[in-house]
Symmetry: C2
Subunit: 128 residues, 2 copies
């Protein structure tokens, strides 16, 4: 069974960020890390952390007087959720139109193009 999607908001994803880089972390460390990239109030960050806990997107283990938090939702799972959501909502669930869109509207560097070509090669080799 695929991991059932855990929807998190954009603000919540920014609180996941430090946990995706390193875990477990104490809330104080999370607050510090998030504040390095934003001007959110400590209270705000703790609220978001608690909501993530409520949703099951992070877990907490008691460490003496405080908790240590770890991600349950992985960054990859989240990226999958969000990508699939865009795909379904905006491109009728089909990948090719999305990629065509990107190739038309986003500047792809020569390096991007090269990398993509290698990806395609790898996919074809896998299919045969």
């Amino acid at each position: 069974m695929l991991p059932s999607p855990i929807p998190i908001s954009e603000a919540e994803s920014l609180v996941m960020e430090p946990l995706w880089r390193e875990s477990p972390l104490a809330s104080e460390q999370i607050v510090a890390a998030v504040q390095a990239d934003s001007d959110w109030h400590e209270k705000t960050i703790r609220t978001l952390l608690n909501r993530l806990l409520g949703k099951g997107a992070v877990s907490a283990e008691k460490d003496g007087r405080r908790y240590l938090y770890s991600p349950v939702l992985s960054r990859e799972q989240w990226q999958s959720q969000e990508s699939r959501n865009l795909l379904d909502r905006v491109f009728g669930g089909r990948v090719a139109p999305l990629l065509a869109h990107f190739s038309r509207h986003e500047k792809l560097s020569a390096k991007d193009v090269d990398e993509l070509r290698k990806l395609l090669d790898a996919i074809e080799r896998k299919e045969h």
Copy 2:
């Protein structure tokens, strides 16, 4: 100057759908078209249409006793907005990781792969 983004909600995008297929349309036609794909109440659809008007995502021109509506935000512009939003929020603004993600996690048909190869060829030819 790029068209400034007009954020619309998911429900609103479903009301744009018939207008993207054909325009202008009277509200009654829009209601009928949306109801073909959903069970929303007529009032709900008209409310969404009005919000879209307020946001400037559609325009209205008087036609006797009623209005005819046309999209201002094109489907392509909307797809661009949403794609860029995903890219920035989830993939740090870089295209390659997004595509790598798709190639790893989404099933691409042989036809998709072929199509993509052609796109890459076209891009390279344009760049030289």
